[in-house]
């Protein structure tokens, strides 16, 4: 196994130091290495962990595969991603989650941790075999019907309770479906002007409020996917103050983009939950810094060209995220490396129960490492992305930060900004 000596990188933004990667772990600096990397000006972070990735395999391999998505993840500085269950077939059995897990191992670019569906076929009617998925080779811990909300309160309550047996967590896509029938974008001034059916903030906030109360009632863990409104932040703040075991994520796009972008009617800006107002963006940023929102998760959602090059109402919701997440968070938070490491690596790894990820780059830790050049600026070119899809809303934007190298358990997956395999 190749050993690497990274000279003079700023570990978690600290003073320049040497970092030795040997035999898959962080080693005591000193002695020779097979490869030396000049780390001057670079920052070393624990490999990023994404709690919310759509890899589309099985079913929509024309949009993304486990392999192409893994490569996009590695190029984005990730060493682990949690693959959402809304594939075709749905990842609602041990068989499907093991298939995804195996494909991830074969690709070998990031750890692919499958998420299992909460309900059979995401239909929201009866529980999937959560225990079987938990005890499968994929050792599923996060369950989610993402794309759909577990809207039935009784079913949600049962799911929250049931997964306690294997320390599972339910990741809820919070969207009251009766309030979002036909919804196309955030309900507000812009939707009124554009004549697009609104997706009201309250449809998210009402579900989060209900679910934190349920989680409190049954003493279970709840994770809230892609929080998008200022009101949701208030609900979460309140719940956390009461000691509810709830964690929450925000996506890079909800930290940067607003509903005004829909005015072009270009569905590259169509996403679920929708882009919100500038006031929401501001509240989400503050909540992320404060810790009311625990992590950044990409909701990387690749879509084939024909699903985006069409009328807004007919387009599928979702945006690419893996390859641009760190640059966006960097532009939003600035060079607060400890904070970034916590929100993009340490806490997501803890929520997902991914041992070996989200460490502090201490000697002896598994060498899951990301090297970033914060001074570099890069213009996003959709054609250059490793994802099989092109639906990035950031095309043409110039963003700070370039991922120079990524190591998965000591193995380089990205070197000099390029995927190794």
């Amino acid at each position: 196994m190749t050993s690497y000596l990274i000279r003079g990188a700023r570990i978690l933004g600290g003073e320049p130091a040497d970092l030795l990667i040997r035999d898959g772990r962080i080693a005591e600096p000193g002695g020779a290495a097979d490869e030396t990397i000049d780390g001057t000006g670079l920052v070393a972070l624990p490999g990023l962990v994404d709690l919310h990735t759509h890899l589309r395999e099985p079913g929509r391999e024309d949009a993304e595969t486990v392999e192409t998505g893994s490569r996009a993840a590695a190029l984005g500085g990730y060493t682990a991603v949690c693959a959402m269950a809304n594939t075709s077939p749905v990842a609602d059995t041990a068989g499907v989650v093991e298939q995804v897990w195996r494909l991830g191992r074969e690709a070998g670019l990031v750890d692919v941790q499958p998420i299992g569906a909460v309900t059979v076929g995401l239909a929201g009617e009866r529980l999937a075999e959560l225990g079987a998925m938990a005890t499968s080779a994929a050792t599923v811990r996060i369950f989610s019907d993402d794309g759909q909300c577990v809207a039935d309160p009784r079913l949600m309550r049962r799911a929250l309770e049931y997964v306690k047996a294997f320390d599972g967590v339910i990741a809820q896509h919070a969207e009251e479906p009766r309030l979002t029938e036909g919804a196309q974008m955030h309900e507000g001034e812009v939707s009124t002007r554009l004549g697009l059916t609104g997706w009201p903030a309250v449809a998210e906030e009402a579900i989060i409020a209900r679910d934190v109360l349920l989680a409190e009632h049954v003493g279970s863990r709840l994770h809230v996917c892609h929080v998008s409104t200022a009101g949701s932040v208030e609900v979460l703040r309140h719940a956390k103050a009461r000691g509810v075991r709830v964690t929450a994520e925000v996506t890079p796009h909800h930290l940067l983009l607003t509903d005004e972008l829909a005015a072009s009617y270009d569905p590259v800006y169509k996403v679920n939950p929708p882009l919100r107002t500038a006031a929401d963006v501001q509240a989400l940023r503050e909540a992320l810094v404060e810790g009311v929102i625990d992590i950044v998760a990409t909701d990387h959602a690749p879509h084939a060209v024909e699903d985006k090059e069409c009328e807004w109402a007919y387009a599928r919701p979702g945006m690419l995220g893996l390859e641009t997440a760190l640059p966006i968070v960097l532009s939003v938070l600035g060079e607060r490396w400890e904070l970034i490491a916590d929100r993009m690596s340490r806490t997501p790894a803890r929520i997902a129960g991914l041992d070996g990820h989200g460490g502090s780059l201490a000697v002896g830790d598994p060498a899951n490492v990301t090297l970033v050049d914060p001074a570099a600026r890069r213009q996003v070119d959709a054609a250059e992305l490793a994802s099989r899809s092109r639906n990035t809303p950031y095309a043409g934007m110039t963003l700070p930060g370039r991922i120079v190298a990524t190591f998965l358990r000591g193995e380089a997956t990205v070197l000099d900004g390029k995927a190794v395999k």
Partner: protein, 307 residues
């Protein structure tokens, strides 16, 4: 020079007035025996209709033909459009045909915007989803001006399902640009709370039709679809008609000179009583004739010069 007419917001006061003035000249020409002008000879106008709307299609077709343009009707029924061809592929076909203008009616809001990014010709929005219908607003403004002599300072009440109405959106934008005072009237479920902020700061909202009528110069009744009842926007057709329908007693509350408009097709007995629709105040028949003149003016504006 505007290239497309996608929204009434594309028109500033000067341009909108110019279109209305041009429409007036077109109307004068239409009154004469010779109804065909050589103006757009050699130009191709495609009517691309994804929704059945015979009246709007015929109106555009008549407008284009009176200006001697070649007209191609590309309707959703019985063409590749209904066989699932994407809007983009259709756009590329129209592009290859050399369409100088595409008049598009589509059930999805924003479809004309999308189309305009895929074709070189001018795109005219003939109604998109619940978004806009700018030529309807132009013909309505034309009708008001023709009947009442001005638009500036006019009090216009637009009554009904504003939430789902492309006619209302375009009218609010255009009338505000031209200095009219617009009041939107209907049940709160059918009037977005942020409509004034979204469209025009001067727009007022009222939930009480009776209080608005005595000051109205124009009352425009919107079509209310009975399906809205199933979605609980209002309890019943009877209650709707009672609270927001324009019947004879309500019409008597209007000033002497006030006119009653409706973009059609009407639900007689629902939003408008038959006696009102057929009264001398009603401009419903004129609106149809004015539609051709307004659309001639728009086509001339977009196609009458250098491409």
């Amino acid at each position: 020079m505007i290239r497309h007419l996608l929204s009434a917001a594309d028109l500033d006061a000067e341009t909108a007035t110019l279109i209305l003035d041009t429409a007036a000249e077109m109307a004068a020409l239409a009154g004469r025996e010779v109804k065909k002008l050589p103006t757009l000879r050699g130009r191709t106008v495609v009517n691309l209709f994804y929704e059945d709307s015979t009246r709007t299609r015929i109106s555009f077709e008549a407008a284009a033909k009176r200006l001697s343009a070649d007209v191609i009707n590309f309707s959703a029924k019985g063409s590749s459009v209904s066989k699932g061809e994407s809007l983009k592929d259709t756009a590329l076909t129209l592009q290859a045909m050399g369409a100088d203008a595409v008049v598009i009616r589509h059930p999805a809001s924003g479809a004309p915007h999308r189309l305009s990014s895929w074709v070189d010709g001018s795109v005219v929005n003939a109604g998109d989803g619940t978004h806009e219908h700018p030529t309807q607003a132009l013909l309505d403004a034309y009708t008001m001006r023709a009947r009442l002599g001005r638009l500036d300072g006019l009090n216009v009440a637009i009554v009904g399902d504003v939430l789902h109405s492309r006619v209302a959106r375009s009218n609010v934008l255009l009338l505000s640009t031209l200095g009219a005072n617009v009041t939107l009237v209907g049940p709160p479920t059918l009037i977005p709370v942020d409509i004034a902020a979204a469209l025009s700061k001067t727009t007022r909202v009222s939930y009480d039709l009776d209080s608005v009528l005595p000051d109205a110069d124009v009352v425009m009744m919107l079509r209310v679809q009975t399906e809205r009842m199933q979605d609980s926007y209002f309890p019943s057709a009877r209650e709707y008609a009672r609270r927001y329908g324009l019947d004879v007693p309500r019409m008597r509350k209007l000033p002497e000179h006030a006119i009653v408009m409706h973009p059609g097709p009407m639900n007689r007995g629902m939003e408008i009583a038959p006696e009102v629709a057929d009264s001398p105040r009603s401009t419903i028949v004129e609106q149809v004739a004015n539609g051709v003149s307004a659309r001639m003016a728009v086509l001339y504006l977009l196609l009458g010069g250098k491409a």
